[in-house]
Amino acid sequence: MTVKSEDLQTDKNKQNKEEVRPVTYWLRLLLKSKTGTLGLIIVLIIVCVAPLAGIIAPHDPTQMDATKMLTPPAWLEGGSMEYILGTDNLGRDIFSRILYGTRISLLVGITSVIIAGAIGIALGLLSGYYGGLIDTIIMRIVDAFLAIPGILITLVILSVVGPGLWTLIIVLGITNWVEYTRVVRGEVLSVKEREYVKAAKSIGVSDLKIMMKHLLPNVASSFIVISTLSVASTIIAEASLSFLGMGIQPPTVSWGVMLNIGKDYLAESWWVATFPGLAITFTTLGIIFLGDWLRDILDPRTQMNGK
């Protein structure tokens, strides 16, 4: 084991230490992990592409051309440089659609994770800090949510409110908060017994203040790790819901929508579904790599053992 024992002690006053550490320290840590580096590169590319889609994309993503339906990618026979990755069943440029799709897929992924995180952390803090009846009620609700597969509850809610971009985001948000609550509650239970929390309480600091000042920062690292991985699973969930007919509806372009259109053409025109499929796979891959790395460096336990 190469990590020195002092790293173990640091977690007790992690808060102070984090401020001291220079950017180069994180960069060094990052470069030590090759998967982490790869993950970060992929994520950076995606994040940059989303706002720049309008500039990079060669075509309007909704521009149809009935004469150029299902044009193959440029390097295949019948393809042209005008449509690098080919066109779909209505003659729309796949490359441009993927670029624009990045926006929606990221929007869905990130926004719903923020909603889930907000609900989850709030309930986790309440549950862990106050305990008692509140804790019991919240934990039973958590149990109930854990017992129903996420996609099922999402499907049922969407069939009630009707699919749409924002409803989808909100529904994915309110169905995925459970994990945060469980983890945050666990952390709060251990932190609230610490001396400085007890001290703050004894001098009459308000509960809200204690939660915000002393408890919340402690759950930050768990939040970052869980939410990174959640973004990935949310992007996949969006695609799966599209497959079941309850996802985002055209003309909005998302990767899930594209994949769902493309799956019908797999046998003859594989490119329609393959490129959005690859976009989903590699984005997820990048996010998972980045998330794993974050977990490794933010969680002192695995930092010691794994790398």
Partner: protein, 305 residues
Amino acid sequence: MLNYIIKRLLQTIPVLFIIVFTVFTLVYLAGDPVALMLPEDATPEEIETLKSALNLDKPFIVQFGTYVGNLVQGDFGTSFHYDLPALPLVLERMPATIELALAAMVVGVLIAIPLGIWSAAKRNTGVDVAITGGSVLGQAIPNFWLGIMLILVFSVNIQIFPVSGRGSLMHLVLPAITLGTGLAATVARLTRSNLIEVLGQDFVRTARAKGVNKFVVLFRHGLRNSLIPVVTVMAMQTSSLLGGALITEYIFSWPGIGQLLVQAVHMRDMAVIQAATFVIALAVILMNFLADITYRLLDPRIKMH
């Protein structure tokens, strides 16, 4: 231990009530399915007639009260689509879904655990990176996509496995792989990280220092201790496994609860949605309960408190 079991069982009652209430409320809000039951050009008058014939014009509390009353007696209502009691309809599909889920778990265990061990044993080598990368990929591929690809490659092009339906063992292979891949990926990653953690602990280091054969260390000391949490996690995955079954069953025309549910959601077949959700939740709770008990029996550390 007995007290614990009783306490856990009592805890499931409010959980089940929350589930029933939530799903009932959702389905109630969804509005009535009458318009979906009639021809596409039915008149409003026709819709009203059918609605009152089906008692759908009563207030929420009355409907919910009646519902819970019936539910206690095992009556989940009648499926609008099939015109049959909902619970038997769901239970009829249980064996198919259990078969698929078990097969997926077998795929998960048989592939994932050896790979996880191999990966941990060869840590930081090409093998490790390949297995880790592969398992991340397994988590990153949407399973409907995987299912369609498997059919295209293994049923249409190479024609090894039948395309769809339930029957022989061969019918089971592709759906089980489709459903099991996500689980396998999770289990492989978990086995790897647990094993690495255990191998780093003192008693293992001591054994190694004493010159015990490295395979003995790996299997006797490492594996035994690292597989307990893996078993628990697999039980916890029951929920997402059953969620994945929704899609897998639809693609492979597998006549299980998942296919029934997808159809019921599209048709707003309230009774079936409610019964199926209840049965699935009960199955998940039961699995977790069993895993929890096993865990307590196996792991001496927890037994003590």
